[in-house]
């Protein structure tokens, strides 16, 4: 079974491949509800306006043990303001009212999804316009029900691969993953690690022996230059911590009513520099 042909993620990558000048997809990550509930949808639109090809939206969880300190801070702020999975889906639906094309991928942990129920989650996510879901702590072994539920609603299950992933593991992920595969550093909490571009390239080659869908890379990207280097070898460049820090700084002293605008403006401006470098 392959992802439905009209999945926005597949269409996005297909369009990029078909373009005259091929370039990697730009995939910014923000935590839903940070810096505020109201800021999220405008921020998503601003990111698209400034070159985002796919949006990753973090679903806050109380125990984000795979996240680095920057992402943890962001999701904690969102949690403190009452963000939850249902509300994230509402935000995606709101975003979809004005943007039918940009893929949205949810990134989070298994428990909120299980609590909602796999079937209900997949149905509501599809209805809201979610295109892919990356659940950090669903390993392929534990994913049968999860991937089945997503497949029933045309949502791509996105999986991680690491430098330590064995060939067998890569095959296993290749068989399950849809949309794209997300390659992370072994220094693998979000926001950490340093960039060894040759090593990344070797790993991607090994992964692509089995994985036919696009492979994104998401660590060590702090600026336009590093984004460009990753973009030279990967199908997608995921940017999280640095973007969140940019937003943090922009809204640090902002009046409440100015938060959404300042966040969108700063995030968009910074993302544009990255996009221009790709």
């Amino acid at each position: 079974m392959s992802a439905q042909p009209d999945n926005r993620i597949d269409r996005t990558f297909a369009a990029l491949r078909a373009a005259e000048r091929r370039r990697a997809a730009l995939v910014p990550y923000i935590a839903a509800g940070d810096p505020s509930d109201e800021a999220t949808v405008p921020l998503m639109h601003a990111l698209v306006a400034n070159g985002a090809d796919i949006l990753e939206l973090g679903v806050p969880f109380s125990d984000p043990s795979a996240d680095g300190p920057v992402v943890q801070r962001a999701t904690q702020r969102a949690l403190d303001r009452g963000m939850n999975l249902s509300r994230v889906l509402e935000l995606v639906a709101a975003f979809r009212r004005d943007d039918q094309n940009t893929p949205v991928v949810l990134m989070g942990y298994a428990n909120p999804i299980e609590r909602m129920g796999l079937g209900q989650f997949a149905a509501r996510a599809a209805e809201a316009g979610v295109d892919g879901v990356l659940t950090v702590d669903y390993t392929p072994e534990e994913s049968a029900d999860y991937t089945a539920a997503l497949a029933r609603h045309g949502i791509a299950p996105i999986f991680l691969l690491a430098p330590t992933s064995s060939e067998q593991r890569i095959r296993q992920v290749a068989a399950l993953a849809r949309g794209y595969v997300y390659y992370v550093s072994l220094k693998g909490v979000t926001g950490a690690g340093h960039l060894d571009i040759d090593d990344v390239e070797r790993r991607l080659t090994a992964i692509r022996e089995h994985v036919t869908i696009p492979v994104g890379v998401g660590f060590g990207i702090r600026d336009a230059a590093s984004a460009a280097r990753i973009g030279g070898v990967a199908d997608a460049v995921v940017i999280g911590s640095k973007l969140i820090e940019t937003i943090e700084q922009a809204v640090a002293d902002a009046a409440p009513q100015a938060v959404a605008d300042k966040a969108a403006e700063a995030a968009g401006a910074w993302l544009k520099t990255v996009r221009d470098a790709l």
Binding site: F61, S62, D63, P64, S65, A66, G68, P69, Q72, R73, Q76, L79, N84, L85, S86, Y109, A110, N111, P112, I113, E114, R115, M116, V136, D137, Y138, T139, E141, E142, F159, L160, L161, A162, T164, S165, S166, R169, V173, V184, S185, L186, K187, G188, V189, A192
Partner: protein, 389 residues
């Protein structure tokens, strides 16, 4: 790696290889005669095992029901059952060629036990601890430092156990090549729950031999406190096949189940995924993990080992709850009537035993796992009594 629908491996891909390695190493060594011999030697000479069983005659008489016996894990080196598991894992780490161990700790007990075995085996040791806990548990922090461990203060989140766990996990991911993560209870991703249980089941294996010798027969009931659940699994497991023996786990009811301030995940929780495994969790309608409360730091955990979840579902073990107040009453009884200062964790098991004993006959036997000594808790008890020192 599953106990019915519970357990499993729910972690990011970055940890999968390390867990595969651990699973393979454990499978290789768990029945290796040399490994088993070394483990048993350490338990005997370093920990001081076997721990005795003890007839709490004075207290039993006062209750006037069943005879209460204690399995004396409080007499272990470092004062609790925790060290059994730490030794097993340290020996395994050494065989895996890892010279560094890490652990997370809340009140500091597992941190002290880990620092202890790391010193014993000449390993580098980092213990992650929330900065709020560092402040509250200064004596245990100093103990760890005396033992040569580095205490890493965690300043994120609530600055307590949960954040320390997250930070330990992050450190492990980043240093997984040379670092072994010693998890302190029967939770976490496979193989931890089964492995920790195996290292702790010496408690039950000894009791199986000791009770017929000392009391003339096996107990009618075995009672143990359940936070993560390692002391309970350790004593339950060898009794699982003894159908006549009731197994009772005791969760912390804190201020009372009705107040919402408790840590009774099996009693009031629902299945979910946390810290690498599927199990019963205290969570809100959105799947966020809830804050728990117990006078006992060791029971103050929103999850529970997955094997307990399974034993509950299949009915082989039953789970009761005990409030802070009941546990403290049992703590004082044990001090005054038996001359043993029990850990507040163990005091929950004691309180449950007292409740059950009262309606049983004097020729029946309840075996309580006295999982640790209470010297670490006297400040907490004093504070509750309005005493400061």
């Amino acid at each position: 790696g599953h106990f019915g629908p519970y357990g499993g491996v729910f972690v990011g891909e970055t940890l999968v290889h390390a867990l595969d390695e651990l699973r393979d190493a454990y499978a290789r060594y768990r029945d290796d005669p040399e490994f088993v011999t070394e483990f048993e030697y350490e338990l005997r000479h370093f920990v001081g095992r076997p721990s005795p069983v003890y007839h709490a005659r004075h207290w039993s008489e006062q209750i006037g029901g069943a005879q209460i016996w204690f399995k004396r894990e409080d007499l272990n080196h470092t004062g609790a059952h925790k060290v059994n598991n730490c030794i097993g894992q340290a020996l395994l780490a050494r065989r895996m060629g890892k010279r560094k161990v890490i652990a997370e700790t809340g009140a500091g007990q597992h941190g002290v036990a880990t620092a202890t075995v790391a010193a014993r085996f000449g390993m580098e040791c980092k213990v992650f601890m929330g900065s709020e806990d560092v402040r509250r548990q200064a004596a245990n922090v100093y103990r760890m430092k005396l033992l040569g461990a580095e205490v890493c203060e965690v300043d994120s989140g609530s600055r307590t156990l949960k954040d320390a766990m997250n930070e330990a996990m992050r450190h492990w991911v980043t240093n997984v090549e040379d670092t072994y993560y010693i998890i302190g209870t029967v939770a976490g991703p496979h193989p931890y729950p089964a492995m920790v249980r195996d290292f702790q089941m010496v408690i039950g294996c000894e009791a199986l031999v000791q009770m017929p010798e000392a009391a003339g027969r096996q107990p009618d009931v075995v009672v143990a406190a359940v936070g993560g659940g390692s002391n309970a699994m350790g004593i339950f497991y060898p009794y699982l096949t003894h159908d006549a023996v009731r197994l009772v786990g005791v969760e912390a009811a804190g201020d009372g189940l009705e107040t919402g301030r408790h840590a009774a995940s099996l009693t009031l929780g629902t299945p979910g995924v946390l810290h690498g495994n599927r199990t019963y969790l205290l969570q809100d309608v959105h799947g966020q993990i809830q804050e728990t409360h117990s006078v006992s730091a060791g029971l103050d955990y929103p999850g529970v080992g997955p094997e307990h979840a399974w034993l509950k579902d299949v009915g082989r073990a039953e789970y009761q709850t005990v409030t802070d107040t009941e546990a403290l009453a049992a703590f004082h009884d044990c001090c005054r009537l038996e001359g043993i200062i029990p850990a507040l964790e163990s005091s929950h098991a004691l309180a449950c035993a007292r409740r059950m004993a009262a309606s049983m006959s004097p020729d029946q036997i309840i075996l309580v796992n006295l999982s640790g000594r209470g010297d670490k808790d006297i400040h907490t008890v004093a504070e509750r009594g309005g005493i400061v020192f």
